[in-house]
């Protein structure tokens, strides 16, 4: 992966007619401006990934007996997780 350092207000060009500029930086957030031809699709990566996962979710037809198993197993594990509150803090 190419890694470049840019300052506020600077930009870079990708291919033909795509310009990415740094509009604002505050804390851990960077505001990015993009000018690109109309036919170039721009998506936040988590949106693209969410669309992909949604599609897989809709395509997986799950047997109800599997769900029954899952429901029971998750409940059991949750009780265990509650016994170890420190372990279960779940924020990646």
């Amino acid at each position: 992966m190419l890694i470049l350092t840019r300052k506020l207000g600077q930009s870079l060009i990708i291919g033909d007619g795509i310009e990415v500029s740094i509009v604002d930086v505050s804390g851990d957030k960077v505001k990015v401006g993009i000018s690109a031809p109309k036919d170039v699709k721009i998506l936040r990566s988590e949106l693209a990934e969410t669309m992909e996962v949604n599609k897989i979710a809709a395509e997986s037809r799950t047997d109800r007996s599997v769900l029954e198993l899952l429901a029971n197993r998750s409940a059991i594990l949750q009780i265990k997780a509650d016994n170890h509150l420190d372990d279960s803090k779940e924020k990646k």
Binding site: V53, R61, Q78, E90
Partner: protein, 156 residues
């Protein structure tokens, strides 16, 4: 004289996993911000199975019998899951009828069900009073593929 205060609009729909089901209009969930990739489908009903309990629900499309998502209560596996919305997002949802929404996670349940995941980054919010719903992408750093069954320590 008989006066009907409510228009009775029961209708029968075909579902993916439950066969034919009678639904009422007031039970229909309407997405104000649709499920990403499924923008055409905004009307759903929630179905559940008493054997499975209320931590798993079926989000069944009213428009398309074959379209159905399994939603899981994220707190089943992640009891501390408590995402916060930005003030802007909260107000926007509130304007669209989601004042007190409940958070659900869309599940991906493969044949090898131990590898099931839920999407904690993009929960489905459903307001039980207004019956409005939205899929939102959180700013917070939650995984899109969080294991539904956490790996126990020492388990292979």
């Amino acid at each position: 004289m008989l006066v009907f205060f409510f228009e009775v609009t029961d209708m029968e729909i075909m579902t993916r996993d439950f066969g034919q089901v009678t639904i009422s209009d007031e039970g229909t969930i309407r997405f104000v911000s649709p499920i990403y990739g499924f923008e055409k489908y905004t009307e759903y009903v929630l179905l559940s199975d008493t054997n499975i309990g209320e931590s798993f629900i079926w989000l069944q499309s009213v428009q398309e019998p074959d379209l159905c998502f399994i939603l899981v209560d994220p707190r089943l596996t992640y009891p501390h899951y408590a995402p916060s919305l930005s003030e802007e997002a909260r107000q926007d949802l509130s304007r669209k009828g989601l004042n007190n929404p409940v958070y659900w996670a869309i599940a991906v349940i493969p044949q090898e069900f131990r590898k099931s995941t839920i999407n904690l980054k993009s929960p489905v919010l459903i307001d039980p009073d207004s019956k409005k719903a939205a899929q939102v992408i959180l700013d917070e750093d939650y995984p899109i593929r969080a294991p539904l069954i956490p790996q126990e320590k020492g388990e292979g």
